[in-house]
Symmetry: D2
Subunit: 292 residues, 4 copies
């Protein structure tokens, strides 16, 4: 059981028809025809264009076929999981949260929810596990999904499939964007060399440290701060130790310094775009902007 091959969008657009159909065919659970149709609609201009194309195929289905497509999805910790008969994608997604090794009480709860939902709607409740970080969170979401009408249930399933599809495309397509910075000492009219720079990503209420580097002689970093698979949609923070830099330059600063640690928060919404986040600073001012 191996991971799917990873390609850039450019490579995907150039792939032979058969290979593209195979790659995209795995995106929607047990419905390879969707990816095959989409393979014929290449080239795609962006990640979002491919995502939209796949959802358009599903959205065009008559209601009966849609319910059928829902039924091709496994229940959470359901019969397929127990029998080891899920796709490798589903196995990996359910495994991450521990849904494949629940304790008996959780399993009983989930079995009851699955049974109640299937009895009411006739198809499984689809949940994009990537948006959850615990079994409790999944169970809580599941409970909210039962007391709705049939149209609402279908809409919710479609919404979750949209998220699942997004996650699977993310695993197939290597991001083409990257993140860079550039620090200018605008009081001295030159790049700020040797400044400590930290990069963090927001994870719930926490900030995870991703990288700690030092600006080079041109005020840039030797490598992009993020690129390829490290380039994820999310909220980031760049931290610049400007105070230490100015002290080292022999600039007199107050105690505490007015500008010391500069902290720039910014969102990355497109993993295929270049995000250039420069810092223009003096001991008393700074500016940032989305550059290019």
């Amino acid at each position: 059981m191996t991971s799917p091959p990873t390609v850039t969008l450019t490579e995907l657009n150039a792939l032979p028809a058969g290979a593209a159909a195979k790659l995209l065919g795995a995106i929607v659970e047990n419905s390879p025809w969707i990816g095959q149709n989409c393979a014929r609609k290449r080239p795609f201009a962006s990640f979002e264009a491919l995502h939209a194309a796949i959802l358009a195929e599903i959205g065009a289905l008559p209601v009966d076929s849609l319910d059928g497509l829902f039924r091709l999805h496994p229940e959470l910790a359901g019969a397929e999981a127990k029998a080891g008969a899920m796709t490798s994608d589903s196995t990996s997604e359910q495994g991450r949260l521990g849904l494949t090794s629940l304790d008996p009480a959780q399993l009983a709860t989930l079995d009851a929810l699955n049974a109640a939902y299937r009895e009411k709607f006739g198809f499984p409740c689809i949940i994009a596990l990537r948006l959850h970080d615990s079994v409790a969170s999944v169970l809580h979401a599941f409970e909210q999904r039962i007391d709705v009408n049939l149209d609402e249930a279908r809409a919710a399933n479609l919404r979750e499939i949209g998220e699942i599809v997004r996650g699977r495309i993310e695993r197939i397509l290597t991001p083409q964007g990257w993140l860079s910075t550039h620090v200018l000492d605008t009081g001295a009219g030159r790049p700020a060399a040797g400044m400590s720079i930290g990069l963090f990503i927001k994870n719930g209420a926490d900030w995870l440290s991703l990288k700690s580097v030092r600006s080079n002689a041109d005020g840039r970093t030797d490598e992009p701060l993020l690129r390829a698979r490290a380039m994820k949609v999310g909220v980031y923070r760049l931290e610049f130790d400007a105070g230490a830099y100015f002290r080292q330059q022999g600039v007199a600063v107050d105690t505490p310094a007015f500008v010391d640690r500069v902290s720039l928060e910014f969102g990355v919404s497109d993993r295929d775009a270049h995000y250039h986040v420069p810092l223009l600073c003096t001991p008393w001012s700074y500016t940032t902007y989305r550059g290019s």
Copy 2:
């Protein structure tokens, strides 16, 4: 037992000689002559000038007198404390950390340290309690103070007295500075009205929330963010909910927004100065600087 009266530097400079001598006379423990001398050196141009004048009086003392001045300070949780014979300043400082109500083990440790120190140097070990936040921290500092020579012990005591003096002046002098902000929506060429603004102060590794306000029609706050006794030397953070503002203005922003929460950290080193910390922002850029 009442707090000392609070005055601005301007008021202090204009006070009758007797009142000024009385106010300043309490600054150095049991040595009213120092404040009296300083009262005659008025006017002072700043907080720092007054602080320097007091330390200059002490620094001019011959070694014998200096040791005598040290002996006018109470030991930590020592005889004076036990007898209720300390100045109100010392009582309040020792009380804040619980030094006036130690458990028997702590008290034994402290008694031993006091005895060892006094035997070695012949004067008490002076510690500026305002720089500590626990008994353990005080004890740890005390332990570092014993294994030094006499010159080092005197230098350390002088350094601590400098800090104690700073704290007592802070309690007497009302700061004359203030903190203000101003948010401009530079993409639209107008003040950013109705933006949520939070103010925090750094306390060790934590950020304590001080205030939560909303910008008015001119992009300012109705009241200064800090003024008078709230204006303390320290590291602050202003947080602007720029993303919510732009969304409310009907500006299309990405998810997540590139500029969402803007977080400006800055140091206040002079509590008698005006710190104006404006934010010029668009959904894709921002600038801050020390204004006026």
Copy 3:
């Protein structure tokens, strides 16, 4: 023959009905009823609102009345001018360009144009003299106005009346806006005091010098750069002698300096608004924006 009284918009809105009617009644040549109607529509929110209200009165007229209103305007250097029978506004407007003292050849040309136009359309050709700066320019414009059809002639007259009305309101209403600046030395974190600042207005291809001042200790100017009647719609330029300032501060700059003369061009479109045009500068960078 005196100028009309000058009032702010706020004062106009608060004037007794009779006084307002009298003031506004002079705006459209020999048609006091228009201003009288408008006086009843007070309060006006802005200069532009008053201008629109007057044009709305004219625009609501049936064609016959409109032609009648045109006929209440004097011909250029025509019978009324020769007889000294024009309104004071018209006398002053025609006098500025020398239309009341033409040489015989110019007078003959203008008489011929007036006659041809009146014969063709039955009303005089109205020209907003404030948009011209020479008799030649007026004659040239007049010649373009003859070879059109009746609808076009009426539209052109209305357009010119709109401009005349704008000029007369400008003479009645004192602007409520003003222009200010503020220079911050963002490399040093303080106001830039003593910097030379020049203000210019664009006049055709030229820049007319309006004012030459020096920034005060707070980096501002002691008086607004423009206010009241000096506040006109137009394109302005602020010139800051930043290089001299930095040299005087003892900052080492190159020869020639990277930032020396800073020249900010900006448009003022609303003479009732506050235009704050700050400069944040270092020897190597600067920023301006519409402030508040």
Copy 4:
């Protein structure tokens, strides 16, 4: 008679000894030994270092030798010029201003000045013609040079030789610096594509247009604005037609627009450095800085 070869500083530093000596040997009129000495002092770190090295050779001469070196310079339109016996550099320099084809009256004036100066000081009056733009200007400068003492005359000749040397190095060394710009639409978070950009150089009171380009899709220009021999020390102006750009983007701007023509003046003091002069702008604000 051909121009000297042109090399970059890097190439000059790597040239075989003989070729370097030949190239530098022509810098000081008829004194090839100076360039030869300097050739042995390679490598030079910059244009200025080479300039300083040549002047150091001259500055080290005893007074007699210095006067001898002065005498190796031709008089202006003097005997050598009349005989066609000047170096090609001098021929070209004197020819540019028309000193080789003066009218009889000018020639008589110049002959008289030459004779008076030579009689007084015993060496010719050296004038760096590159700083003049007319015969009248040269004659005026010459007249100021006679009524001085011997030390002042020597100092003036040395100063002029310094300028001549600068000019000859400029003709030999290709500048290694360049000028670039980058326009960011910071209200929209993307490069400003298709904006008209003009480049001017200050020449006395005038601004000479050097280039008129349009920003490309990345907000930059396809070619550097200046490079190689076009990169001269001087004061430049970049003009950006920001108003037209914003109107084309469908951004509503006032009439006149607040930000319309953005005019950035800046000095280039080092023709071997990279000057990056970006513009970050919105319809209501802009920022520039020396970038990298």
